[in-house]
């Protein structure tokens, strides 16, 4: 946990209670608004992601957790009509490059000279991996599933690729279960194994950040425990953002937790603080199970 973090004092009672991490930020959303067509679903959300930590997003259904996650790797780009404004910084460089919100942010944050990252969307997604709610193994062998992303960017020899596949599967704690059937279809695995296969596929390209959208909601308790264990170990190499409906899960594995409600960030603090001494009444009501 982060002991030296200092809260930002604000006079506005509606303003989010933000305790910013003091460590190095790998990814950061600033004043993020999101629109599905004309309806707005995120309102000025700030989200700092510290490097090599697990950040959890909690909140009732429809509060914008998944939307926020989907904005971070710009997967919403796929759908015409969906639009984000504000800033998303990857290693300090703006990946949203949204001119309109620059002046608004300058007013608030002062003149922070931010250079655009000039990453195309594909390169961005290679650096920010994502695992979805339902396991999404591709209709190909376990080996090819893991190699899929790597082949997009690198020409690797068979031996190098074998190494990458083995290493990724080991890190995702799946190697022992599949090492003898790498050439069989990924669709034949159990739900929990499929989800860990998706994690292996996501980390095979060595992204900086791994986004997980309720990765355990379709899994049984045993598979969930395994996945959580995997994530705790992956923290050493990756920065992880996880959306979860499971409060115990957030409390168990995360270093920071953000509580969202109706498209706004209500409270963001080190996890222990948020669960033990929530400042906002809404956070308190939610984590004590009074609503949501």
């Amino acid at each position: 946990m982060n002991d030296v973090a200092t809260p930002i004092i604000t006079r506005d009672p509606e303003a989010p209670i933000m305790v910013r991490p003091t460590g190095d930020l790998v990814l950061e959303a600033r004043q993020l608004d999101f629109f599905y067509g004309k309806s707005q679903s995120l309102y000025g959300v700030d989200l700092p992601i510290e490097r090599n930590k697990i950040t959890a997003l909690i909140g009732p259904s429809g509060c914008g957790k998944s939307t926020l996650l989907r904005t971070l790797n710009k997967i919403y780009d796929l759908y015409p009509g969906q639009n984000a404004t504000g800033r998303i910084l990857l290693d300090g460089k703006d990946i949203l490059a949204d001119r309109a919100s620059v002046s608004r942010l300058k007013e608030r944050d002062g003149d922070v000279a931010l250079e655009p990252a000039n990453l195309d969307t594909s390169a961005l997604r290679a650096r920010i991996g994502m695992v979805f709610q339902k396991p999404t193994p591709f209709p190909m062998s376990i080996y090819d599933n893991v190699a899929f992303g790597v082949r997009l960017y690198f020409k690797k020899s068979k031996a190098e690729m074998d190494q990458i596949v083995e290493r990724s599967l080991r890190r995702a704690a799946l190697w022992d279960e599949v090492k003898d059937k790498l050439n069989t279809s990924g669709l034949g695995l159990s739900g929990g194994q499929q989800q860990r296969l998706c994690v292996a596929r996501g980390i095979a390209v060595e992204p900086e950040v791994l986004l997980l959208d309720e990765p355990a909601s379709a899994l049984d308790p045993v598979s969930t425990a395994k996945l959580e264990e995997t994530l705790m170990e992956l923290r050493d190499d990756f920065s992880i953002v996880i959306v979860t409906h499971n409060l115990q899960q957030a409390a168990r594995i995360s270093d920071y937790t953000g509580f969202m409600f109706l498209g706004r960030m209500i409270e963001f603090r080190p996890t222990a603080e948020l669960f033990e001494r929530p400042q906002s009444t809404r956070t308190r009501d939610y984590v004590t199970g009074r609503f949501g």
Partner: protein, 279 residues
């Protein structure tokens, strides 16, 4: 009467009705297959596959028709698979929701039920008349035009069935949209796309009307697609209407051969699809 009993009786009545409906449908299928086998099977001998169609009274086979049918169906399916899969993919993945996409889908549905004789006349106008001659190419194109809407429709349906999360997962790894479609979505929908091809083949393998105006027919073996070409359906048409017993027998054999071909392609297709999609 108590409720459980009433439910049981209703259930039984509907089970019987469903079974009866199935039996009626199956009965006609069996009758068709039975008459095909009964009248056609006896006529199958080596001559069928080695000799061309005979003059009445002399020995002969269906070689000219078999080869012509294979060549023209192959050309037709090539056309249908290339155009149909591309068009279906466009409808499902790119432009299906645009106004232009709606028009394309509507026209495709119209083509799906277009009378085949009109397709034959259309190809006659654009490929036979301008080039002053019937040809295997024209026949293949006419067959292709009939199969394109079937393949297009099935492709669109099958691709639409694939969950969006699969596309998102591919793109979340940094793959482009086209690459995701080619390497993931087509593969996931593989068995469905294959079925579309089979449906198309089944439709065109017995088509006669469009061939009458385009490939015409040829009583000799001809492998040049620029020349008039024989085919099983046109041979059946000609022989079945004739007054000669041996020609009529050959017509039955031809009909049986088409049925066997469709059945065989179906079975092989299913096996291949199952093999490649085994989890």
């Amino acid at each position: 009467m108590d409720r459980t009993l009433r439910r049981k009786i209703t259930n039984s009545i509907f089970v019987v009705l469903c079974a009866a409906a199935t039996l009626v449908a199956l009965a006609f299928l069996v009758m068709i297959l039975w008459s095909l086998v009964a009248k056609g099977f006896g006529g199958i001998d080596a001559n069928i596959f080695t000799m061309t169609q005979p003059a009445p009274g002399s020995p002969g086979g269906l070689l000219n028709g078999i080869l012509g049918s294979i060549l023209m169906c192959a050309l037709g399916m090539l056309l249908a698979i290339v155009v149909g899969i591309l068009a279906g993919t466009w409808l499902a993945e790119y432009g299906g929701k645009t106004a232009y996409g709606q028009v394309v889908r509507f026209l495709n549905d119209v083509l799906l039920s277009a009378p085949s004789i009109l397709v034959g006349l259309f190809v006659y106008e654009i490929l036979v008349k301008p080039f002053h001659g019937f040809s295997g190419y024209a026949g293949g194109v006419a067959l292709g035009l009939l199969a394109v809407p079937i393949v297009t429709r099935t492709t669109e349906d099958m691709l639409t069935l694939q969950p969006n999360t699969l596309r998102e997962a591919g793109m979340a790894l940094g793959a482009g949209r086209g690459f995701v479609i080619r390497s993931i979505i087509w593969k996931a929908a593989g068995a469905g796309l294959f079925t579309g091809g089979l449906l198309g083949f089944a439709r065109i393998s017995g088509e006669t009307a469009p061939l009458l105006f385009t490939s015409l027919g040829n009583q000799f073996v001809n492998l040049k697609m620029s020349q008039p070409m024989g085919s099983l359906p046109t041979t059946i048409f000609q022989f079945a209407l004739s007054a000669y017993d041996d020609w009529q027998r050959l017509a039955w054999v031809g009909a049986l051969l088409i049925a066997i071909a469709v059945l065989a392609v179906n079975i092989v297709g299913r096996l291949v699809a199952r093999e490649t999609h085994r989890p």
